[in-house]
């Protein structure tokens, strides 16, 4: 008997829980050469900005142990070209599309939302909060619950009521639950976590940072334990909110960790760079694992590791591990 893999991102049903991660699937067309995009739970776009962006200088990439650093700098076509060329291509094919947006001010985010609200083919909007707030000396929105909430509230107020707004959070905070709560209170219908923690690599031959931008976002298997922890903490604190678990997923086993911790959707980023079919493989492996463990429905596994056991009483996610 097969497993019912359907899941809900807020009130929107997805045929399966495996999506691409923002910024890791190009415009969609690149992956379409490898497989039928309808087989994705959803395609998440790169973060769209108002103006076209050339991004950061190269090198933009450095390999690290079980991970990589990237500093792409939101290179993209800008909202006009996106609405003209990229979104219609996806919409015409009926591909479930979560549009990610990025901005430098609250006004920019809400302007983006305004442009998207009537665009056909927007399954949900994911708000990339890992952008520097130019009105606060470049402090990243996601690192400050107040700033994050302001962005979410402005996007939520503008977006059509039936398009879920997903807040994408960063792990580089003292208290991810506090930021999550601020976003939910501001109207986020779901949370996505984690965006890349900030890392760095030094080129010891050139005696300078490997990336032209200096620092970069860390992704890949190395960060899976951080993603599992963030999902766990937020699901424990705000159990009703749908969570998109992202970070280091390369197998169905990894995806199941995030699901048991509380995610109902799983995003796959860096693994796509290694294996263009990663989403399909992970979805299949996940289904096989669930089946082997006797689950009939994916939904039954969501957050299951929180079920109280004798051992669970010892768990206190706020306390230090030391």
């Amino acid at each position: 008997m097969s497993v019912d893999m359907r899941t809900f991102l807020a009130h929107v049903e997805l045929a399966n829980p495996v999506t691409t991660a923002a910024g890791c699937a190009g415009s969609g067309r690149e992956l379409a050469q490898f497989f039928d995009l309808h087989r994705l739970g959803a395609l998440v776009t790169r973060s769209i900005t108002m103006a076209p962006r050339a991004g950061r200088p190269t090198p933009r990439m450095a390999e690290t142990p079980s991970g990589m650093l990237n500093a792409v700098g939101l290179q993209g076509p800008g909202i006009d070209a996106f609405l003209e060329r990229e979104l219609p291509w996806l919409a015409q094919r009926g591909i479930r599309t979560v549009v990610s947006v990025g901005g430098g001010t609250v006004a920019e985010y809400s302007a983006l939302a305004r442009r998207l609200t009537d665009a056909p083919g927007v399954t949900a909007v994911e708000v990339n909060l890992a952008c520097p707030n130019i009105e606060d000396r470049g402090r990243v929105f996601a690192r400050d619950g107040g700033a994050a909430a302001e962005v979410i509230a402005s996007v939520r107020s503008v977006m059509r009521y039936d398009v879920p707004v997903v807040a994408k959070l960063s792990p580089d905070v003292a208290d991810v639950v506090a930021v999550a709560r601020a976003c939910v209170d501001a109207g986020a219908d779901a949370l996505s976590m984690i965006n890349n923690p900030l890392g760095m690599s030094i080129d010891v031959d050139a005696l300078r940072p490997t990336l032209a931008a200096g620092t970069g976002g860390l992704s890949g298997p190395a960060i899976l334990p951080l993603a599992v922890r963030c999902v766990w903490q937020v699901h424990a604190a705000i159990p009703g909110v749908p969570i998109v678990g992202v970070g280091g997923v390369t197998s169905g086993h990894d995806a199941l960790q995030l699901i048991l911790a509380g995610a109902c959707v799983v995003g796959v980023g860096t693994a796509l760079f290694h294996d263009p079919y990663a989403c399909l493989r992970i979805e299949r492996e996940l289904e096989e694992l669930l089946q082997a463990k006797g689950f009939h429905r994916l939904a039954d596994a969501v957050g299951l590791a929180h079920r109280p056991t004798a051992r669970h009483l010892l768990v206190d996610s706020e306390e230090s591990s030391l």
Partner: protein, 283 residues
């Protein structure tokens, strides 16, 4: 496409390693200039990114094989250098935009520096099939790093070799000899493969002689399939606008004069979406 190929043979060619891999699907679709990306490190490796390698040769044996030629530079290529016959290798390819071929027979100079020479041989075959004249100019730091000199001599009208240390052919770089090769062969077009510095210099010579040049560039690549946006360089489009384009899908082969070599590693101020436009301060 992604295939799990089997290593057929491994050999050393002077300073290089060569692997022949059974990969029918890749061999079948191959055109000169294509590359593959190879998973390195085996199960549970800590190396998460693939390595891009040009295809040096394809053969019909065993349904189709591809040959890769590479230097053991860092941990990934060192791992590759340790592969043995019958090991499996996970390849994605063929990838990239191949070399465009002239419609009519033309006189073509093929310029290869270091392992870049490897990618020129299937191109030479294709050009010769179209009745083109072929001349090679191959260069490297030292004799053991000049790839394919013998084969070039067998195929081409002329083959000019250069080494930095003078251990083979003329002392100097391949671009030093290029003007005289162009003059001697009355070249109609240049193809070049090698380090960016060589491509820049070759392009300068081609512009001087006012002949078209096709260069295969190299940029650090995380995905090779156009989704990660890490491999970009500034290239001037047909509309005169500079864009940060992906070496893996818009390239690796570009018209040399379109590549802003001086600005590689920067975002030129006049590139589409460069800081200074409305989005300067975002992300």
């Amino acid at each position: 496409m992604q295939v799990t190929g089997t290593v057929l043979t491994t050999r050393r060619v002077d300073a290089y390693h060569a692997l022949t891999v059974v990969a029918p699907g890749v061999a079948e679709r191959f055109r000169p200039g294509h590359f593959v990306s190879v998973a390195v490190g085996g199960p549970r490796t800590s190396m998460v990114t693939r390595r891009a390698l040009s295809i040096h040769d394809v053969k019909p044996d065993y349904g189709g094989t591809v040959e890769l030629v590479f230097t053991a530079k860092g941990p990934g290529t060192s791992w590759l250098a340790e592969r043995r016959a019958r090991d499996t290798l996970d390849l994605v390819g063929p990838l990239g935009r191949p070399f465009p071929l002239p419609r009519d027979p033309a006189s073509c100079v093929l310029v290869g520096a270091e392992y870049g020479a490897a990618a020129l041989f299937p191109l030479a075959d294709a050009l010769m099939e179209r009745g083109c004249r072929i001349d090679f100019a191959l260069g490297a730091a030292s004799a053991d790093r000049v790839f394919g000199a013998m084969r070039a001599r067998r195929m081409a009208e002329t083959t000019t070799l250069t080494t930095e240390d003078g251990s083979l052919g003329l002392r100097g770089s391949v671009t030093d000899v290029l003007p005289s090769v162009i003059a001697d062969t009355r070249a109609d077009v240049i193809y070049a493969c090698g380090p960016m510095e060589t491509l820049r210099a070759v392009t300068a010579v081609a512009i001087e002689f006012d002949i078209p040049v096709q260069v295969a560039v190299e940029e650090s690549m995380a995905c090779g399939i156009g989704v990660c946006m890490t491999c970009v360089l500034p290239v001037i489009g047909d509309d005169g606008v500079t864009r940060m384009v992906r070496a893996c899908v818009e390239g690796p082969v570009f018209r040399g004069e379109r590549v802003r070599f001086e600005d590689v590693g920067t975002i030129p101020f006049d590139a589409l979406g460069a800081p200074g436009g409305g989005a300067r301060n975002v992300g």
